[in-house]
């Protein structure tokens, strides 16, 4: 049987409906972005507009780093729940008895975490850009718009979300406890952020080549991870708790 987007769509629609009616998911999706937009917003108004360009650029880069935490954290909790949560609820076995293939199941789960993460992250970044354009000092606003910051945000948001999602799903597929899965998944989403932090703090010298190389590495990881996680997805272990 070939890959079916109909089956992917069925799981995706189910997940999005489930999120809408799950208070925990709604609170997480609302609170995380609010927490991580506060620092960048403060920077908009307290940053010294008369500082030299390099200093201003670093300050802005650092504050925008906070916003890259959003695409890493929001899908991390969702993807960590995706397999072990269904198993806990007893809903995994009926789904696995249908013709759905593990690649389809996993891509559906990944998209279900990716779509809200992307929408929320870009929305928050849009609010930040609008606030900067309307209320921040013109020097700061132009520093935000003129540099590569916007490009970095647009480029790295989906790539970081992809990393967090596949790490989360991999942990979820091998875990037996939702809480442990969420903690491990959260930890697993941090390494790329740490590299971005080192770049923002000028510990690693930022360059276009470095950014593109890093983005390419993340993209390659995101694409490969689907196959790797699919290979780790063992129906027998998930249903019986024992290895095949």
């Amino acid at each position: 049987m070939s890959f079916s987007w109909t089956r992917v769509g069925a799981i995706l629609r189910k997940e999005l409906r489930d999120y809408r009616r799950n208070r925990f998911v709604i609170v997480t999706m609302t609170m995380v972005p609010i927490v991580f937009i506060i620092a960048p917003m403060i920077q908009l108004f307290v940053a010294n507009a008369t500082a030299n360009t390099a200093h201003l650029d670093t300050r802005i880069g650092l504050s925008l780093l906070y916003m890259l935490v959003i695409p890493a954290i929001v899908p991390s909790t969702l993807s960590a729940y995706s397999v072990v949560g269904e198993r806990d609820q007893g809903t995994l076995e009926p789904v696995l008895t249908t013709p759905i293939r593990r690649e389809e199941f996993l891509i559906a789960k990944a998209l279900a975490a990716f779509v809200p993460a992307l929408v929320i992250s870009y929305t928050i970044f849009g609010i930040f850009l609008a606030t900067a354009a309307l209320f921040a000092h013109p020097v700061i606003a132009s520093a935000i718009y003129a540099g590569t910051h916007v490009l970095v945000q647009l480029l790295f948001t989906p790539l970081l979300a992809g990393w967090a999602i596949w790490v989360g799903i991999a942990v979820s597929a091998r875990s037996t406890d939702v809480r442990i899965a969420q903690q491990l998944s959260m930890l697993g989403s941090l390494p790329p952020l740490a590299i971005l932090a080192l770049i923002s703090l000028n510990v690693i010298t930022a360059s276009t080549a470095l950014a593109l190389g890093f983005a390419a590495a993340l993209l390659a990881f995101d694409l490969l991870a689907w196959r790797v996680v699919a290979a780790m997805f063992d129906r027998e272990r998930l249903v019986t708790g024992r290895r095949a």
């Binding site: 049987m1 089956r7 629609r13 489930d18 809903t91 129906r235």
Partner: protein, 327 residues
């Protein structure tokens, strides 16, 4: 049905190809044997009961045939498709499994749950199919209700509607009436009967022996290995010698004189209710016994051939296993 059953072998001679062919199938988890060297066939349109104590390997067998877990040894054909890793998706599209726990999405409505599974089976005419499935389990008026708000019995019925959604060739039902009240149980039994009429093969795992006796064409009793397989009446004949129960108002003064040397009578026991006589042919023995009792001036309350239920068969076999294990 067009097939004939050969009790004791689990093989069918049939016009239609069997819906399930299981050949020396074994599943081990490390050192633990879930089921061992199990072989049987299930005919198309047959209702096949799969009985056994807790931990006997029933659910593992269903999961294996449903391609959720891989067998350690042996082979099987499910709905005409050989059981192997490559055919998993194809087999699952032709069967349906209703696990013991309904496993519904509780924050979704009944309709949304069924829509999700209709999508997973890539069904056409989703609305029509869902409508028919809900009518079959008398849940049309609950389509918009959240599954989390339904009682256990209603959830079980939603799971049944989900199981028949794809018109499966083989339907595996794991304890379908568990937790249902008598009315809901009767509805499930009627649904199984109507599915049988439509030619659906049903593999029914149950602890309710009267349910198996009432619904199933044949039953198999599993206790890690397959202990017995056949029609309930054939199993009774295999396991129990034929006997006649006699109830009298007052016990006989000299039962030996009445029962001994009667045609067809092989032995007798006194029971709290009267006498139980082992006979070779009840049709021959019963009239002779009636005449002898009348001659002995006994006050006869009843003379009837002993009836052994499927429960008796089940308990006899399981007790044998318990005794064998304790030796």
């Amino acid at each position: 049905m067009t097939e004939t059953h050969e009790a004791g072998f689990g093989r069918l001679s049939s016009v239609d190809p069997p819906a399930l062919v299981v050949d020396h199938l074994t599943k081990r988890f490390g050192d633990r044997v879930a089921f061992d060297d199990v072989s049987f066939e299930v005919g198309t349109g047959e209702v096949f009961g799969f009985l056994g104590p807790n931990g006997a390997g029933k659910t593992t067998t269903v999961r294996t045939l449903g391609t959720l877990i891989a067998p350690t040894a042996g082979s099987a054909t499910v709905a005409g498709i050989p059981l192997n890793a490559k055919n998993g998706s194809a087999i699952r599209s032709r069967i349906s499994i209703m696990p013991e726990s309904p496993g519904l999405y509780l924050r979704l409505t009944v309709m949304e749950n069924l829509q999700c599974f209709a999508g997973l089976y890539e069904l056409d005419d989703i609305r029509g199919r869902i409508g028919r499935a809900l009518r079959a389990v008398n849940l049309e008026d609950r389509a918009g209700h959240l599954c989390g708000s339904l009682s256990k019995g209603l959830r079980q019925r939603v799971a049944l509607a989900r199981a028949v959604l794809n018109d499966p060739a083989v339907l595996f039902l794991d304890e379908p009436t568990s937790g249902l009240d008598p009315v809901a149980t009767k509805e499930v039994h009627e649904l199984i009967a109507s599915l049988r009429e439509r030619g659906v093969t049903i593999f029914l795992t149950t602890h309710r022996l009267e349910e198996a006796e009432r619904l199933c064409d044949r039953v198999a009793i599993l206790n890690t290995t397959l202990r017995v397989i056949g029609r309930p009446d054939e199993l009774r004949k295999q396991l129990f010698r034929r006997s006649i129960d006699i109830r009298l108002r007052v016990p006989l003064d000299d039962p030996q004189a009445v029962f001994d040397a009667r045609p067809g009578v092989e032995g007798w026991d006194q029971t709290p209710a009267g006498y139980t006589l082992t006979v070779s042919d009840p049709d021959l023995a019963a009239p002779a016994l009636a005449r002898a009792l009348v001659k002995a001036d006994a006050d006869i309350l009843s003379i009837a051939e002993s009836h052994h239920s499927l429960e008796d068969v089940y308990l006899e076999l399981i007790d044998e296993d318990v005794e064998a294990n304790s030796r």
